[in-house]
């Protein structure tokens, strides 16, 4: 049984159907990536998994339990963390307060230790711990968003376009972080437009087009697929 199973999911914004029946699986310990052009429905998929949107039909199972009727704030407690598109850090709070909010569902003093762990992973954040998060650079905000997601000690980490709008150096750093998380066994569902980097890292990849899965398979194979290379890796 997969850790996360999505079955025939349909999601609509008003009358417009954004997800037209997709299915996907994420196994424990895997990195699974969703790629596709802008507007394909990647963000919508993640937001539906974390309960911010409700599906029209289909089901989402986490550890075999229905997730699509659970409220968003309960889903976090079940072990799914979501670092949203555009980072969405809390701009008027300090770096440290943002991280503590990441652990909102947890109790106890291991929180301070985990804040320390995030600072170890991203020393840049330690330097800015008392600074308002809104004043951070884009790359630092992304580190904060990932760190904040990790603070809930998730079993499944969902990252929505973590490399969006960052400098090449920052992008490299972010992907290194993801690789590192993978090596420690974290299960990750990664949405990316940077298809080559994402597929190189992923165990499994899904290609989304206008709300449907058009192709799926092991990341390495998709990387070699001619259609994928043409459409997403900018080759002809």
């Amino acid at each position: 049984m997969s850790m996360l199973e999505v079955r025939d999911l349909r999601v609509a914004y008003g009358a417009i159907e954004a997800i037209k029946g997709i299915s996907l699986d994420v196994d424990e310990g895997q990195v699974v990536t969703l790629i596709g052009t802008n507007g394909a429905g990647k963000t919508t998929t993640l937001r539906t998994v974390s309960g911010l949107l409700r599906p029209v039909s289909g089901e989402i199972l986490f550890d075999g339990q229905r997730l699509d009727t659970v409220k968003a704030h309960e889903i976090v407690k079940q072990g799914i963390a979501h670092s949203p598109e555009g980072r969405r850090i809390f701009p008027l709070m300090t770096v440290e307060e943002n991280l503590e909010l990441g652990a909102y569902t947890r109790k106890g003093d291991s929180i301070a230790k985990d804040v320390g762990a995030v600072f170890d992973r991203f020393p840049r954040l330690l330097e800015r711990r008392a600074q308002k998060a809104g004043t951070l650079s884009g790359g630092e905000q992304q580190m904060l968003a990932i760190g904040r997601a990790l603070m809930s000690s998730p079993r499944l980490l969902m990252l929505d376009e973590p490399s969006m709008g960052l400098s090449p150096i920052m992008i490299q750093l972010i992907f290194e972080t993801i690789a590192e998380l993978k090596s420690t066994g974290t299960t990750i569902l990664l949405v990316e437009q940077n298809a080559s980097a994402a597929l190189a890292l992923a165990d499994v990849g899904y290609v989304l087009e206008t709300g449907r899965v058009v192709l799926s398979g092991p990341g390495k194979e998709l990387l070699k697929d001619e259609n994928v290379r043409k459409a997403y890796l900018g080759e002809d």
Partner: protein
Amino acid sequence: MTAAGSSYRRAVGSQARVVALAGAVLLVVGSVLPWARFSGFPGKMTLAGPGGARIGPLLLALVAALLLRQVPGSARAVRAASTFAFLITGLTVFFIGYSGGGADYVNAGAWVALAGALVYLLGGLGLDPSRPASSPPRSLPDAPWALPAEWLLTAGSTAVALYVFVHGLGIQSANVGRPNDVVIRGAISINALTNDGEFLAFLLLLIGLALVATRLGLLADLSAITKKHPTVFLAAGMIAATAFPFTQNGNGYALRIAASIGVFAAAAVGLNIVVGLAGLLDLGYIAFFGVGAYVAALVSGSVTSTIHTHIPFVFVIFLGAAVAGLFGILLGAPTLRLRGDYLAIVTLGFGEIFRITANNLDGNSGPSLTNGPNGVSNIPDLTIGSFSFGDNHHFLGVDLPFQANYYWLEIVVLVVVMTAFLRLSESRIGRAWVAIREDELAAAATGINTTRLKLLAFALGATLAGAAGTVDAHVVKVATPDSFTFLESALLLAAVILGGMGTVPGALVGATILYLIPEKLRFLQDLRLLVFGVVLVLIMRFRPEGLIPSSRRKREFHDDSGGADALSMPPGHGEHMA
């Protein structure tokens, strides 16, 4: 609630139709039997045969016949009919018993009808409530008689509207002369009570029938037909409105009420430009109306005016409009760039400043202009040329008391405001307003000068209100600060919202209902604001598009989404961009 409803429907299952039909038959039988054992209740309720408040349940029971030939929407129509049949029957039985002085005064027919209505309701609630797939409005077959038939329908609909209005208005005035011969319960005479009961039953019948017609798609069909012949529709409407005083046979009271409804409706249509078309929430609209009223009062030649001048009314109406419009510009220009909900507060503040100022300019707390709380009174009757609006007339064998003159004047004002509204809403400006209302940023991105257009809507609304105010000053003959309070603005807004934002018929219906109900239901008089408050909340909750929605508004409010974002999107989402 819905869960309980669906499990009830499952339990009743396919028996619902049979139950509803049986109940309806019983109700028909009950409604032709005598209901009352005393004659205090209007409408020959002591005799057999249909009459008085029994007509409503009878008509609504007949709707059940739709179940014999299933047409789209029939189940929902019967649900509505059974609900309202039960409400009306229950209410009338209660009023009969109450005004008679006990259940003994209720005759057997009423009990039969009540039992029938209950069974009808139980059957009706078991019917399938789901909306049929929407279909385009039907039209008459392509035959030579279709065109005259369409004209007839168009004209007929205005005649029906006039009849309904006259009947509703007449319920009380017809009884005004009746001796108060029955027991007095507290301060309320039985007459007043039975009138209230009759009016309420009439109102419920109207709502019930309107719902039935809506659910069968008949209203949509009719409005599609009337839209095809706007000239016929307008002409018929004008004739109906003009003819109204002739139906009243000298009843000045009814004409005065109708004239007041006219003013109220004109102001509501004006406000609808601001709120309904441009989406600007104006909570101080009555102040612009008040500006017009004070301008007219001060230069009317009234002995209580501090300005001892008399300017002919044909000029005053423009003067009042201009002054009000000027205030609109002064207030709107700096504030319209603000976030929408701030505008609501600013206009509210302006309304208060106007009221306080009118109260204070009494030569005591401030310069002498308005006579303070006493206001400007004894405003003389209007004269235009040699025609005095204070004269009674006799024409075509009908008494036309002087109130008829003012009534017709109000109709002219109303037509002017309505024309302005309709011309604007069809124009490029109107479309730009709608674009701004729906998404200001997107509108600005397409090159619309949003600030200027919003100012135009705001100032235009103010101007029309000012013009209406000048007329009103002569109708009520006095201008006092008390007539222009925040609550008046709130009531106008309620009229617009109740009727339907962005449509002329909506504002007319809303204004009529909001004016007439407290006028008619005396027991509600003290509670009328309380009821308005509840009505506002309920409308926003269950029918935010109002009774007569514009088709676009309806879509806006009832975006039948698959539930996406159904959880906790706060209001104002998408309004505030960083």
